[in-house]
Symmetry: C2
Subunit: 208 residues, 2 copies
Amino acid sequence: MDNSEDTGTRVIRHTREDVTRAALSILDELGLPDLTMRRLAAVLNVQPSALYWHFANKQSLLAAVSDSILEQLRPATATDDWRADLHAEARALRDALLAYRDGAEVVSSTLALGLGGDQAEERLAAAISRGGFDERISAAAARAVLHFILGHVSREQQHLQASSLGAAREPAGPLDDEDSAGGFEFGITLLAGGLEAYRMPGVASLRT
Amino acid sequence: MDNSEDTGTRVIRHTREDVTRAALSILDELGLPDLTMRRLAAVLNVQPSALYWHFANKQSLLAAVSDSILEQLRPATATDDWRADLHAEARALRDALLAYRDGAEVVSSTLALGLGGDQAEERLAAAISRGGFDERISAAAARAVLHFILGHVSREQQHLQASSLGAAREPAGPLDDEDSAGGFEFGITLLAGGLEAYRMPGVASLRT
DNA sequence: ACCTGAACACCGTTCAAGT
DNA sequence: ACCTGAACACCGTTCAAGT
């Protein structure tokens, strides 16, 4: 647990990556509201002020956590079916977000602030552009897909936590996990189908 | 400004609606981070603890603010073109969110927590179902549209604030307002087009 | 290069008591 | 029905100084 390849056991000294890792584990175990600078410092056996040597403020720490979550994105596989690829990218992103408690919320708010990398958006755009769409279209569509995914998974994670807390209440309904995953695929299908329709506008009355 | 139709000028006494209104105006003038219970109390000339007679906690206050924002949704007009109606509903929602600073973020996080009304989702679903889609499909599609709108407008408002702060920086590019509004319409078009394609799957290879 | 100590300026929330 | 007063248990951030 401690990377103490030092002389004794004292003088802990953390790297930026240590801090990010510890933050990620607090996030996963206690959730975003309990991920405070003071608690993080306590876990690292350090004064809160020490964290500000590694990060300018809490928001940049959260951006690093967000990037860390997105780094676990399973590698892309480019087949000859761009729609299948887009679905695969979307699922990979959903899985990465679901891998940590409140993952979607952290990534969502980080990206909304214009912080964090754009690996996710770029991979979605890459899959789409393999469908023969130009860069502008691919980028705009990727953003639409990303907004949908972040919103959907945020709600999903919120429900997961709510139902894990209030054990009783509604019998969870016959539709919840199943329906949530179904809703996810459906949303991606709509956006992919919309792209397909976009390039052959003769089919239906597509102007509005 | 004061609804003091009392004997003198003392004993202010607020209603839940007064509190919500005051919160909304702090939100609009100072933004979500500065909308604190203590500041709200100060504006109302009241102790912070007084707010807890009107609301159980800050989150329910924010839910009331969110509802308040969505109440300003301009009324729906049902024509014979469901796609035009959906676009109109989407624009109405965007305008309502843009009407207050950080409006999208407040509504987004409130809805994510399962709080607040579902007027927005229902109106989107109503427009979609006029296209002849069953209730399940309409509901799922409405949620997808709503996620896109909240994500898009959140980012839009973030950029608005960022550029109003850092006056200089990038020359704003030839694409920003224009591109943002264009991206919005494009997203709605994709989802509407996806729905149209969904009911006539023979057109292209739609299975995945 | 990384951290301590001490402080500043705040938070949300509870609860007994007042009118 | 609506509010005060006082307290509890916290926050994020800064900054001089230490090693």
